[in-house]
Symmetry: D2
Subunit: 285 residues, 4 copies
């Protein structure tokens, strides 16, 4: 049986006594710290911390946590969030016609890699239908054109809200989301881009890599911000290629990268291991 | 100007309140935690922790630390050590005829990668002389034969004690140290072995790798224990090879690995980032 | 439209004039060499070569190749094989209860990564049934016990022969094949082992890796020979782990490795890019 | 004793019979091919080939090679070059104040990794003096200012010509060479840039990487062309970093990369394993 835990993720100006205060708070209520990690960003003097403790024997009830932590929050000026490990975040996956990332995510979900529910799959193409059926996933189709984009996005958002979606994964979704959409889910939309960002942002990164003659290609998973392929990077990986690689063989090799990198980013997010600060992520691994 | 810090490294049976007690102790004496990392090994239920704090404004003097921490040590049953960052550990390097690891260590030392002094170099061959001269390093020669090994080791140990050596680095030292020698420096002798241990322990690992037809070769840095190539592993790295690689080209490629892996292990040790438990290391990176 | 090509793979004692003779043979019959690669193993003085040419305009018919090449074969004492790229090799996949490698192979097959047919899936467990059904794959069940192993293997072999299977993939098949079985398919059975061989051969490699405290884990794909986990290695890959990794998280991380490494080995085999010599493979990539 | 070999490196429009003609030419003069590699770039339909053969027993003298090969060259429209393995190319190293790449190159040269002579070291700073002295290398100082750049480059070129330099290595030389200089040594100046190009070209790449928050940093070795950091890439490598890495620790980690990548590029060049085509390199490894 897995333990039920609480995860406190916070940031605040760094000063003496924070770790003592936070761990003291947990100890006073009989909590056992399982994992604690912190990072002090300099010269900004910002502290980022993640602490996870066992809820067994913890003397505060779930409803009491927020009030109990309030004095700490106030004293240090924390931005904070508490996550309980038995809450299963709700994930929506957006997909177009390249289905390998989607398929991989679903497989990993089935194998228990992600603690999450996937109540919603959204696509602008019907290609996904047989696969969604096989896996018993609800799938909604919103074909996007230049004319209907605004309207379709509104429908998508309505759907996302209805389902109470916590995280959106763009699993090779070939549409750029509008700023209005992105603003609605800050730090809650994860994209996979098939290059080693910031190299080869935008269209056809493998084609760009081929033209430039690089010896290594990559994949980058990042939070989506208004500016294309520019959000905080969560995970990256690369593989070697040679002059023998065509754009097609790059695509083939890149698939493995994309899958691995996207799933890693999703797992980190679902385990509340990511803090963001400007264009950066702090990963508590 | 770099900060002067204290680093507390300890292990003890895991229980509630340890982090709170330790961070509380530091906070009470006005210390600012710069870095804290911990790991709870299960099912052994052992906690390993490394905490580093700024000594500026810390109200305890160096001489008072031990006494002040005693109640904590007693309460939790800690094995512990405190290191002050302004102490420069004394390192001895043992070397034979392959000098590239030695040369690399000295270069890194010169470039400021290691906070340490190197008062002593020991070799069983004279090959090192011009290099040691150029770098202005004291070098002692103890040629080892089957007959004189005991006696020579005793002389080496006497030398090591005279210099107050804290860490011994075997930089491709081609002699096996006796159990008596090893026992004298538990967790304080670092070796580099040119294979991905536990594969290809012992002699001629590249030859072994060639015979087996592996596609990847490696290097391993580890603490020396009585059993050859069997001590706790600190760092490992690998590179790809192909069928085209001969034993000679493996040696060539392996050199880069050996240098990088050995220097990484040395740096981790000198920064007090390593805890050992049985055959394992916990690396607080 | 992809070109139809012929691939000549041969080995023979190395001597002057072989490349000239082989490429002259192809040129004389109006063939255009698309790819040629060779390797001279020393001191064994064995030449291994793979040459692929376009069949368009080639003046020899398929039925005439063997006879036409006979003088070359005789002159140089070649062991040889010619493969035509429009023949789709028949692959059988053996699987037990861990289905992720199987699932991955099928997905890659669907995405066109493998030029092959998969007429047969063999399992000793029923777990695979829904997946095989979804993908429309014929699946045969041969539960193995100590008592029935001989008999079941005979049935499996009969099935393999009936289907004219060219290649057997053990996709985490948890049974050791008998020597009699292995002898029947020399260089035609590919296994995936979840360690960096020769480290951690045999049972529970992740458990072994955990106990030893390594910092890197691996996966190895190899041809199956009589001796367990000892056949010629085709492909290997590794990933870093830390002291925080449990056997369970190693398994999780290892899955990605196993899939990538196995599929790479299968692709190399299907593209006739592998020559074997004793315990080694020559990979013409 | 190492064999004396000839290496023919050529490119030409691809057509049937080239390999046969080239290998036939070698065989007719009793040459034994040790290594042959080719690549057909599509859709450009350009063939690149490298073939190396043993000169023992080869019936053509050194002075006869050019004339003997002329018909082949004419027939296929080859751009070509023949290198003899017993010619020791003359290398000049340019360096500024960061000496670790220089030091590494010299060490490798000493250890026999490069078949080359290093008759000339050029620097715009005196920092290198003790090191050059220790290694017994002739060093020339040409401090560069905005005003004297043209003049100093002319002096450098005169020096390079006097020594008959074949290859120039910019080992962290912090000056941009003028177009006039670069034009004089096309495909014969190798630079190391401390980023994964094309990401972070230009100044302070580690700073740029830090600002962008990437999870991997790299180094790139490339031929120098008129456009800064834009020439054909020879070798690249990367390492993982985390949010904990500052610009300083990136610099530290990057040093290992830079050294390895630069030395790899130099070795490939000295072994005549590189063909260039536009912005690309074909590496015959």
């Amino acid at each position: 049986m897995e333990k039920t835990t609480a995860i406190l993720l916070f940031s605040c100006p760094d000063q003496k006594g924070i770790v003592a205060a936070v761990s003291g708070f947990i100890a006073r209520h009989n909590g056992n710290i399982l994992d604690a990690d912190q990072y002090s960003l300099q010269p900004e003097n910002m502290l980022f911390m993640r602490v996870e403790w066992d809820l067994e024997g913890f003397t505060l009830g779930r409803g009491e946590l927020e009030e109990a932590i309030a004095p700490l929050v106030k004293r240090f000026g924390m931005h904070w969030k508490i996550h309980l490990s038995d809450y299963m975040p709700k994930v929506a996956i957006f997909v177009s016609r390249h289905l390998y990332c989607f398929h991989d995510l679903i497989l990993r979900h089935r194998m228990g890699e992600f603690k999450a529910q996937i109540p919603l799959v959204i696509s602008n193409h019907r290609d996904i239908e047989p696969l969604a059926d096989f896996f018993g996933l609800a799938c909604r189709y919103y074909p996007i054109t230049l004319e209907n984009k605004d309207q379709q996005e509104k429908r998508e958002i309505a759907e996302l809200e209805r389902e109470g979606i916590d995280l959106i994964i763009l699993a090779r979704y070939m549409q750029v989301l509008s700023a209005a959409f992105v603003d609605r889910y800050p730090g809650r939309i994860i994209n996979i881009h098939h290059s080693f960002l910031p190299a080869f942002a935008g269209k056809s990164p493998y084609r760009q890599a081929y033209e430039r003659g690089v010896k290594i290609i990559g994949a980058t998973s990042h939070y989506v911000t208004e500016k294309l392929d520019d959000g905080p990077i969560i995970a990256q990986d690369v593989i070697r290629i040679t002059h023998k690689d065509s754009v097609d063989t790059m695509k083939l090799k890149g698939k493995d990268l994309e899958r691995t990198v996207l799933s890693k980013a999703v797992r980190l997010h679902l385990e509340h291991r990511i803090a963001t600060y400007g264009s950066k992520t702090i990963i508590f691994e």
